[in-house]
């Protein structure tokens, strides 16, 4: 299979995602790099599946095509770098039949500077940085990494998040330390966190008015047959995005973020009997994931959806409303947080 060949005679760049793109003219790309302050001649890569690297000019061309402002480029580059870390498993993510794809979570003062939406409809339409940062990553995975739907990107269904998914944590309305502080960064530092995820699943609870009540609904939504986190639990990072209202209810009872994560570990569980011969757990032969929690358990043992209470990823995002979100991670992948350069 020949690698996609740029047709020099074209006056409009072909669109990777089917939507119109901004033409990456030399003038636009050079101005983009200039205003972004990027002068590096370094290449980024190699990217699986193509094993190719890309120059800053090529990456900028993709960001321009996606509609990014030059001020977003640092977030784009840092997010791309983060997904190249071995533990992120981009190699498996880009090719998989699963719907999983990298999601970008931004923390720090840059959220306000770039006006990245962390509030109402943060996972939806309507915000240029949210829409175009995620889209730029998707373009690089398609144009540079060679993830071509149907040929090398083998997603059975894919999902709307594969057009690009970038959000910011709603740090101002979170009762707890933000994600990047939890991971050892200073509150004033800017970071991206990348997490392989499927499209989010709504957790609606308009009734519960205690921490345990809200989280009981949440864990019921998170412990389901068919989610990758249920079976690939050895490295899974089940992600709970709490709305500010749900977070406030939980915090009102004095619960810390660690308490939330511990509750997920303790109660988002499925019995060993229910797990067997479903999903990715086959007892008929040796074909099954040998994740640690399942080994040698009795029928009535409740199996957690991750290996330890530290593994759930909990953040606050969204606006008004008593809804939270569950994002099931790819499973065999670990999220990565990096400083934005």
């Amino acid at each position: 299979m020949s690698y996609p060949v740029y047709r020099g005679s074209m006056v409009t760049a072909s669109s990777p995602d089917g939507l119109p793109v901004v033409n990456p003219t030399r003038e636009r790309v050079e101005r983009f790099l200039d205003t972004a302050g990027v002068t590096s001649k370094d290449q980024l890569g190699p990217f699986p599946l193509s094993e190719r690297s890309a120059t800053m000019e090529t990456l900028a061309a993709n960001a321009v095509m996606a509609g990014c402002k030059s001020s977003y480029f640092g977030v784009v580059l840092s997010a791309l770098e983060a997904t190249l870390e071995a533990e992120f498993n981009l190699y498996g993510t880009l090719a998989t039949t699963e719907p999983h794809w990298p999601m970008v979570i931004v923390n720090g003062p840059v959220v306000e500077e770039l006006d990245i939406n962390s509030g109402t409809n943060a996972f939806g339409q309507g915000s240029k940085p949210n829409a175009t940062i995620g889209r730029a990553l998707t373009f690089v995975y398609m144009n540079v990494a060679g993830a071509t739907p149907g040929l090398t990107d083998k997603a059975t269904h894919g999902g709307p998040h594969k057009f690009g998914l970038c959000i910011a944590e709603n740090e101002f309305e979170s009762p707890w330390e933000p994600l990047h502080v939890e991971r050892g960064f200073d509150a004033n530092e800017n970071t991206v966190t990348v997490l392989t995820t499927e499209a989010p699943h709504n957790i609606s609870d308009h009734i519960a008015n205690t921490a345990a009540g809200v989280l009981t609904t949440a864990v019921q939504s998170m412990s389901v047959l068919g989610a990758n986190t249920t079976y690939l639990s050895e490295r899974a990072e089940p992600c709970l995005v709490l709305s500010p209202e749900h977070a406030a209810t939980i915090a009102r009872d004095g619960w810390s973020k660690d308490d939330v994560k511990r509750f997920i570990y303790d109660y988002a569980r499925i019995s060993h009997k229910e797990l067997r011969d479903q999903g990715m757990y086959d007892t008929q032969d040796g074909s099954r994931p040998h994740h640690v929690p399942v080994s040698g358990l009795p029928d009535n043992a409740d199996v957690p959806i991750c290996r330890s209470p530290e593994d759930p990823v909990v953040l606050v995002a969204g606006g008004t409303g008593r809804h939270s979100l569950f994002l099931s991670s790819f499973g065999d992948s670990r999220s990565v947080t990096r400083l934005i350069q």
Partner: protein, 201 residues
């Protein structure tokens, strides 16, 4: 300058890194050799491998291993699994029947070939293009990828043996293990990706 004259930059990367992966030397014969069976844990992969192994043992003086499993299909095998597999004269790997498992099956094959153990990768027809694309990008276009019919995961073990392990597959296996790497390039380069290239614009 009109818009017709504006230079549009190429959004594609234009150079492949030199990975340096090489195919291992092949065997002079499949007689008197020890062949390892390596499952990536995908459903029925072990039944498929056992049947291939049984038929090889019926036809040749080969010693076929018990099935060796890695922990999970969606990432690389642990080093101790590679160490164990390096003890065989050749390794049969099954199989690619999804995206991430295909990628990591190819990765396992690259590691073993690099270490000098000839391999055969089995892959269902839906994923041969992906597997060969990766082999080509790793610099090993001759890596033998033997195609099997898709789907295979929901067949009974008996049907796996009777319907999926064909004479053509067994011929391909022995050919892949005993044919010089230069000739394997002629046999495999573009075998699956060539047909797919016309789908790319």
């Amino acid at each position: 300058m009109t818009s017709q004259d504006e230079e549009i930059l190429n959004p594609f990367a234009d150079e492949i890194e030199a990975k340096g992966t090489v195919l291992a030397d092949r065997l002079s014969t499949v007689d008197s050799v020890r062949i390892g069976l390596f499952s990536n844990t995908k459903k029925n992969a072990d039944y498929f491998l056992r049947e291939v192994g049984a038929q090889l043992e019926a036809d040749y003086d080969v010693d076929v291993s018990e099935v060796v499993y890695k922990d999970v299909a969606t990432s690389a095998a642990d080093e101790d699994i590679y160490e164990e597999l390096l003890g065989y004269d050749a390794v049969l790997i099954a199989y690619g029947d999804c995206g991430s498992c295909s990628s990591w099956t190819m990765h396992d094959s690259f590691q073993l070939e690099e270490a000098g153990v000839p391999t055969v990768v089995f892959c269902t027809e839906e994923f041969t293009t992906l597997c060969q694309y990766e082999a080509e990008n790793q610099g090993v276009p001759g890596l033998p990828i033997v195609e099997i019919e898709h789907p295979i995961a929901d067949l009974s073990p008996e049907a796996v043996a009777s319907d999926r392990v064909t004479d053509d597959i067994l011929t391909s296996v022995t050919e892949a293990l005993t044919t010089d790497p230069e000739v394997l390039v002629d046999l495999y380069q573009g075998k699956y990706t060539g047909a797919a290239s016309s789908e790319l614009v």
